[in-house]
């Protein structure tokens, strides 16, 4: 009996954190122990694959027997022997551990272009990428297309930059092509600094070759011979996989001299960031590669004219590059038709927060927010109600329920006071405080402001101070107006996108959730019971069983009481950490 068995284990950052590497070696050990490979079955292989986007169910394992796939969720090492014995050896899947319908609806409602290889192929094996058509597009572009034809295809595809601003990629490349210079650079922006976003990480970890291939095609189109991938320091696995991919490309002569036997040379190296959000901004990123403080410069020249070391440079985002091979192979009009009239193709979003299915989601541009949150995300976690969705990270805003039916693209999100940004989406429910959320983002931008221009450096600081006092119950009349005024000035006067968009989280929450600010200021009350200085924890005497669980965990020794009698919290000692709230099995601790 010949069977072909493939075991695919998710080893993205989420998969590894949940024990993916250990599960993988447990399967490998199991195969070795039975000696199956040599005797019983023709082939039994294990594969590490990238993130398939549904990280809350990690470790996910696919078992394919003659192409028939079964997927297991939450796999732990101690589950491996049973899966191996019952499923792989005897052919009966362990039904109680397989994924349920929600896993399939999560994936079925998506349309995967950029993510089509993630979770399917081994990112550390170039042959796996070649087997699914990899480097065909680069070959075609280099051997049989002129730079003008490539630029034309990208223009026709209606692809817009996925790094946030949505600049038409074809136009950028056309500028890069037209400018004459003996040295030109191609840079891939893998800085992905927006908190709550991990699309680029998943692509770099799960399908690194698609990014490299996109860069090769860009180099051919613009006449560049040297490229850099800028990866943030917080993504060690992405760096490792990209480096491996580059090394393999050298062996295959996809990078280096005379690529595909043509007279075209292109080489690529990785530059690791050192932890600064502002380095995601194109001009700051280039200063960082030059070894300087990563501070943005005024846009007197376009990077296409004067970029890295003052040479013409084309810089695009990871996801932008990953789209390119598909456009070259499947055609510009195919890609264009996937999206809306204004923006072609699909977009990857990372949907997190208080939603049932958290993970990566790829949909055509133009679908509604409701579709993303409810049909794919499965709705709100627990029995809570939806309050807002935050898009675009610290540069974006919060969108309330009344706008859930807008069609998602760059313009529509801007219209409701947010932005598309890089694609991070965080769902907030009734237990999220909007003032605290705005403060969270402003803390971030204030800390990350590079300090070069005054409106951003000092303006964000002042806004943060005002938000700080509001959340501490010290807000004053006029604070809201002051925030709005400051926000307008910072937006208008800052040097780079960081400052220009920093007030957005505050302004958009003021637009839709002004009453929450007012409750904090006028009534000294946090309606969502989040702001630490405005809440107290108390124990409900009638519910408390006196089990002592809260007393045991309290780090401040603030809880008094003897066993089997209701306990009490000493408010003068309570540090409001909420540990007791989590520890109480009887829900006797109240937060208000």
């Amino acid at each position: 009996m010949d069977k072909e068995i493939v075991i695919k284990v998710c080893t993205g950052t989420g998969g590894v954190a949940s024990g993916g590497e250990k599960v993988l070696s447990a399967f490998q050990d199991a195969i070795a122990a039975t000696g199956i490979e040599a005797t019983f079955y023709e082939k039994c292989t294990t594969k590490k694959v990238g993130c398939r986007g549904f990280c809350s169910k990690d470790v996910l394992v696919d078992i394919l027997i003659n192409g028939e796939k079964t997927t297991y969720k939450h796999v732990k090492v101690d589950m491996v022997p049973r899966i191996f014995d019952e499923h792989i050896v005897k052919g009966n899947p362990v039904a109680e551990w397989t994924v349920e319908d929600d896993y399939y609806t999560f994936h079925e409602k998506q349309q995967k272009v950029v993510l089509s290889h993630c979770g399917e192929i081994d990112p550390e094996d170039i042959d796996a990428y070649i087997a699914v058509g990899g480097y065909e597009a680069a070959r075609k572009a280099i051997l049989s297309m002129s730079p003008e034809e490539i630029v034309d295809a990208v223009k026709k595809s209606n692809l817009r930059g996925r790094g946030g601003a949505g600049f038409p990629t074809g136009l950028k490349w056309e500028l890069g092509l037209r400018i004459r210079s003996d040295i030109k650079f191609v840079i891939c922006n893998g800085d992905e600094g927006d908190p709550g976003a991990f699309m680029d990480r998943s692509v770099m970890e799960g399908d690194p070759h698609s990014v490299i291939e996109g860069m090769i095609i860009c180099a051919k189109a613009t006449g560049s011979r040297r490229g850099y991938i800028y990866v943030r320091a917080e993504y060690p696995l992405a760096v490792k996989r990209l480096q491996l991919a580059i090394d393999m490309c050298h062996k295959q002569k996809f990078l280096g001299k005379k690529i595909f036997g043509s007279d075209f040379d292109f080489d690529l190296s990785i530059f690791q960031g050192a932890g600064a959000f502002v380095c995601g901004e194109a001009t700051a990123l280039m200063r960082s590669i030059e070894g300087k403080r990563g501070m943005p410069s005024p846009k007197m020249w376009r990077s296409a004219e004067k970029g890295l070391w003052d040479k013409p440079t084309v810089l695009n985002n990871v996801e932008t590059f990953a789209n390119i091979p598909r456009i070259i192979l499947k055609g510009a009009s195919w890609y264009r038709n996937l999206g809306t009239e204004r923006s072609g193709g699909t977009k990857v979003f990372s949907i997190t927060g208080k939603v049932k299915n958290t993970g990566l989601v790829e949909v055509p541009l133009g679908v509604s927010l409701r579709h993303i949150i409810y049909d794919i995300g499965g709705g709100i976690e627990g029995d809570k109600t939806f309050k807002a969705i935050q898009t675009g990270g610290p540069s974006g805003g919060c969108i309330p329920a009344e706008h859930l039916d807008i069609e998602v693209d760059y313009e529509s999100l801007a219209q409701v006071g947010s932005i598309m940004g890089s694609g991070g989406m965080v769902v907030l429910d009734e237990t999220s405080c909007m003032v605290n959320t705005a403060k969270f983002f402003l803390e971030f931008t204030q800390e990350e402001s590079c300090g070069k221009c005054t409106p951003c450096r000092i303006g964000t600081k002042r806004m943060l101070e005002i938000l700080g006092r509001i959340t501490r119950g010290k807000g004053r009349d006029g604070d809201i107006e002051l925030l709005e005024e400051l926000g307008r000035y910072i937006r208008a006067a800052s040097l780079c996108g960081l400052g220009m968009t920093a007030p957005n989280p505050v302004l958009s929450t003021l637009r839709y959730f002004r009453h929450e600010y007012e409750a904090h200021i006028k009534e000294k009350r946090c309606p969502a019971a989040v702001c630490r200085d405005l809440i107290t924890y108390t124990i409900h005497e009638e519910i408390c069983k006196g089990c002592g669980a809260c007393k045991k965990v309290c780090p401040a020794d603030a809880i008094r009481g003897t066993r089997k009698t209701p306990h009490k919290i000493d408010q003068s000692l309570c540090v409001k950490c909420g540990t007791c709230f989590d520890a109480c099995k009887f829900k006797s601790i109240m937060k208000a």
């Binding site: 989420g14 908190p195 050192a274 958290t358 780090p555």
Partner: protein
């Protein structure tokens, strides 16, 4: 130290490095940026030490003070924030008795730091304990890890 620095210098010359890459190598080797290392490079390369410090203080991956033997990094990205990472951080500071402006315990056993986002948002809240990523972190799980580390010290 001299020898190690010499090696970093050779790497720099071979790979056409720059201040950022030198500092990255120093940080990787020593766990922080010792002042002597900067002075040494400043002399060798004839670049003012202020340029090195200018770059070192700009990026959050560089540290000018030695760090703890155990490093706990709590992610405070948006998803982690929404899922309560602030409480994890507060609790760690209380538990390890670290005061507000510090990040390392006085006995240098622990450093607690925040990171903006490590991109593991699907399993928020996330903490990295000595390079190992832990997902769906609870106060309980966190404290268990801390106790384990305290014991093994």
């Amino acid at each position: 130290m001299e020898e190690t620095l010499q090696k970093i210098l050779e790497e720099y010359r071979k790979n056409e490095g720059n201040i950022v890459t030198i500092l990255q190598d120093i940080e990787k080797t020593f766990g922080y940026i010792p002042e002597e290392a900067v002075t040494w490079f400043s002399k060798k390369l004839d670049i003012p030490a202020s340029r090195f410090f200018g770059v070192a203080t700009f990026y959050s991956q560089f540290h000018l003070k030695p760090r703890g033997r155990n490093i706990i990094t709590v992610c405070r990205g948006t998803a982690c924030h929404v899922k309560g990472s602030e409480r994890l951080i507060n609790r760690l500071f209380i538990e390890l008795d670290i005061t507000d402006n510090e990040d390392t315990t006085s006995d240098q056993k622990f450093t607690v730091e925040k990171v903006n986002c490590i991109g593991a948002c699907g399993i928020a809240p996330v903490a990295v304990v000595n390079h190992e990523v832990h997902g769906k972190m609870s106060l309980d799980k966190m404290m268990k890890e801390v106790r384990k580390l305290k014991k093994s010290e």
